[in-house]
């Protein structure tokens, strides 16, 4: 029976080669930028790890958290920036202006920083109506007020007709680190529990339907909202037991879990049945052949907490408006490192991989 032993040794060797290749920092080898580089999956990762981080180097950047930390004379600050290029500008549940405030505020919040101030850069397309601009200015002002941040500086550029899809917005956010917790993905350890602050997939699905490319109508509204109230409640209730927070935006909850599993060399086990999904989102996702776990959210966070803090954390979250459906969805494990496993509602297990590119609808 020497044969099977050599065969399995060869298989083992090939698995080893693959693992080494996957563990290596992603290289950026493409000749041109494709839409996949902006989708938040493997192609985006190759751009960040293969081009930006090596070029800009610093220790803070290479941690690749949602916001960079800087210390100024003993004061711990967090800085983050984001661009908003959504089409259409307005969609059920929100608009580009809401996103531009909430998205940046949320990157600060999940870094454990209280949002303080925002900058606002507008790139406007020639021909944009004043009414559309006024509506977005109003949306920005209202969202900033609700999130408790002040817009302290700004810039305006106008580009020729045919560029910028009406308007692009870039915001930079400054926050102050909250001392009630020390959040870092390096804190995530086997045994920790995974919480989700509410139902998933609403923002991405609302946008897809609002584009009118499918002849499909469903009452789905974007979930765009500031996450600071949820973070604040968690910090209050279980601060020291809180390991790490992420907002599940582009690439959805699946991408957040994969990134963390990889960077912390742990495994995640998620129970599909525990994940809250609205019936309308589930229905639309079913028809389009898209998994809601990969669909973007703009007001949902994933929290990693110590096992004994689950009840306290869930109670605190559920008391926050918009987080009533918060749920424990899984746990952190040791094996197999770097992978996210799903226990399906049907009773099987499978691997939930990182996205390779945009989630493209299947035909068959």
């Amino acid at each position: 029976m020497a044969e099977p032993a050599t065969v399995s040794a060869r298989e083992e060797r090939i698995l080893g080669i693959i693992e080494t290749a996957r563990g290596k920092r992603a290289k950026f080898r493409d000749e041109r930028i494709t839409m996949a580089h902006g989708a938040g999956g493997k192609a985006t990762q190759s751009l960040i790890e293969g081009l930006f981080v090596p070029a800009f180097g610093g220790e803070t950047l290479s941690r690749m958290s949602d916001a960079g930390e800087i210390t100024v004379e003993g004061s711990e600050l967090a800085l983050t920036t984001d661009s908003y290029v959504v089409r259409p500008l307005r969609f059920p549940g929100g608009s580009i202006g809401d996103l531009a405030v909430n998205g940046t505020v949320n990157d600060l919040a999940v870094s454990g920083a209280r949002p303080l101030a925002l900058s606002l850069s507008l790139v406007l397309e020639e021909g944009l109506t004043a009414a559309e601009l006024r509506a977005e200015v109003k949306a920005i002002a209202l969202a900033a007020e609700q999130a408790g941040v002040e817009i302290v500086t700004g810039d305006t550029k106008v580009v020729e007709r045919g560029h910028a899809d009406g308007m692009y917005i870039c915001t930079t956010g400054l926050g102050q680190r909250d001392r009630r917790a020390s959040l870092s993905c390096a804190n995530v350890t086997p045994g920790d529990r995974i919480l989700l602050s509410g139902s998933i997939g609403e923002h991405g699905m609302a946008i897809m339907l609002a584009r009118g490319e499918f002849e499909l109508d469903a009452a789905i509204e974007s979930d765009t909202a500031s996450l600071w109230p949820a973070v604040n409640a968690l910090l209050d209730a279980v601060g020291p037991e809180l390991r790490c927070l992420r907002d599940a935006t582009r690439g959805g909850v699946a991408s957040v879990l994969n990134e963390l599993a990889r960077s912390s060399s742990v495994a995640m086990l998620v129970r599909e049945g525990a994940i809250p999904v609205h019936a309308a989102v589930a229905g639309a996702a079913e028809i389009l052949g898209i998994d809601p776990m990969y669909v973007a959210n703009e007001g949902k966070l994933v929290a990693f907490v110590a096992a004994d803090a689950v009840d306290g954390a869930l109670a605190a979250l559920r008391a926050v408006p918009g987080c009533e459906q918060a749920a424990e969805i899984g746990e952190v494990r040791t094996e197999p490192p770097g992978m996210v496993l799903v226990e399906t509602s049907f009773g099987g297990r499978r691997v939930m991989d990182q996205l390779v590119g945009d989630p493209l609808p299947r035909i068959c």
């Binding site: 698995l15 080669i17 930028i33 494709t34 839409m35 996949a36 399906t344 390779v356 590119g357 068959c364």
Partner: protein, 371 residues
């Protein structure tokens, strides 16, 4: 979702899994091929294979219409997409399939007007909205999607839409199955028949599999319970020494298929003498082209396409993987020249292809066996 959730019931799933366990002969290894990519997707999505005993192995078949398109056809598509004034339309999952010099997604990034559509009718609508542009639809798929292409072409002709044409890469399911079955080194015990294709062609066309090759076929639906039940039905045939075509998907598939859809196919398409499949080579009478009556809507005649055959790289052993002769990792280029980011063969192109799945989840799959 009524009439769907029932087929995803975990307790029913456990019951059928128990039935499967009672049907297997200890020590025997079973290889069952699910022909259709849609089944592969469901198996993956619901973790169906995780509910099977380790000696029942599912082999992913040639029924992913995107993955089987050879490089040369992708190159033809890109050549048309690069023609000035052309709007090139195709299904989303076709965008990433590599040709000899990149994919349609890369052609789009380089300036071609490539648009994703969800149905051929969307492509026709784009043609009507852009009368000064040539709109080309890249038609792919088995008998499942061919009727909708056929109806779109009929409508285009009836409405006199002059700027619409179609590059037809539709394929039929029976010839590649026969090619697989003809192979002397085939190691498969039975087939899960393609339920979607069968809604059009019926269950009858699969009768040759038990009759000529002595393998059971069960035409199956796409919910996890459908698939588990069809595996149990195949194992029951093997245990009882029966060998026939059974229809697990009776709620949708009539034995004779859909005669109206078949009539439309016969009117709009005709068989090509040969068609090339990625990983499987040329297979006679396996591809469709537009019939004489619809020749004016044939993009391959309207535009000049290179039509160059790009050989599958010699080292690629997709054919052997599909036949179940070798495991993905036994292929010479697996994990080195051929990876999910830069796939060579059909089994690596789709994330659910046997090679891509093994590349991504191999370590996990092995752990399952150890447990």
């Amino acid at each position: 979702m009524r009439f769907v959730e029932e087929f995803r019931d975990a307790s029913l799933g456990r019951a059928v899994a128990g039935e499967i366990l009672s049907l297997i002969e200890p020590g025997r290894h079973y290889k069952v091929m699910e022909v259709c990519g849609g089944h592969t997707h469901s198996i993956y999505k619901y973790g169906v294979d995780d509910l099977l005993p380790t000696n029942v192995e599912l082999v992913h078949g040639p029924g992913c219409p995107v993955c089987v398109i050879p490089m040369g056809r992708v190159d033809d598509g890109i050549a048309i997409a690069n023609e000035p004034g052309v709007i090139f339309t195709c299904f989303g999952d076709m965008l990433r399939v590599p040709g000899s010099e990149g994919s349609l997604l890369e052609a789009k990034a380089a300036g071609a007007d490539v648009r994703m559509v969800y149905s051929p009718l969307d492509a026709l609508r784009i043609a009507k909205q852009n009368p000064d542009r040539e709109v080309v639809f890249f038609a792919i798929g088995f008998e499942t999607t061919a009727p909708s292409t056929a109806l779109t072409l009929k409508r285009a002709r009836a409405e006199g839409v002059k700027n619409f044409s179609c590059i037809c890469s539709h394929v039929t399911i029976v010839p590649p199955l026969r090619a697989l079955l003809e192979s002397p080194d085939l190691r498969l015990d039975g087939f899960i028949g393609p339920g979607h294709v069968a809604t059009v062609v019926g269950a009858r066309p699969f009768e040759f599999i038990p009759a000529d090759y002595g393998k059971p076929v069960v035409v199956a639906g796409f919910e996890p319970l459908d698939i588990l039940q069809s595996i149990a039905m195949i194992l029951a045939q093997l245990a009882e020494g029966r060998c026939e075509v059974e229809n697990q998907y009776k709620r949708v598939v009539p034995y004779e298929g859909n005669p109206r859809a078949l009539d439309v196919l016969a009117e709009v398409f005709e068989l090509r003498p040969h068609f090339e499949w990625r990983g499987l080579g040329f297979i006679s009478h396996s591809g469709l082209k537009l019939s004489e009556a619809y020749a004016e809507l044939d993009a391959e005649l309207r535009f000049s396409v290179p039509g160059v055959r790009v050989a599958d790289p010699k080292a690629c052993q997709c054919g052997e993987v599909l036949k179940g002769v070798i495991k993905p990792w036994e292929c010479k280029v697996f994990g080195t020249a051929c990876t999910p980011e830069r796939p060579i063969g059909t089994c690596m192109v789709s994330s659910e292809g046997a090679c891509a799945a093994y590349y991504n989840f191999g370590r996990f799959a092995r752990e399952r066996e150890v447990v």
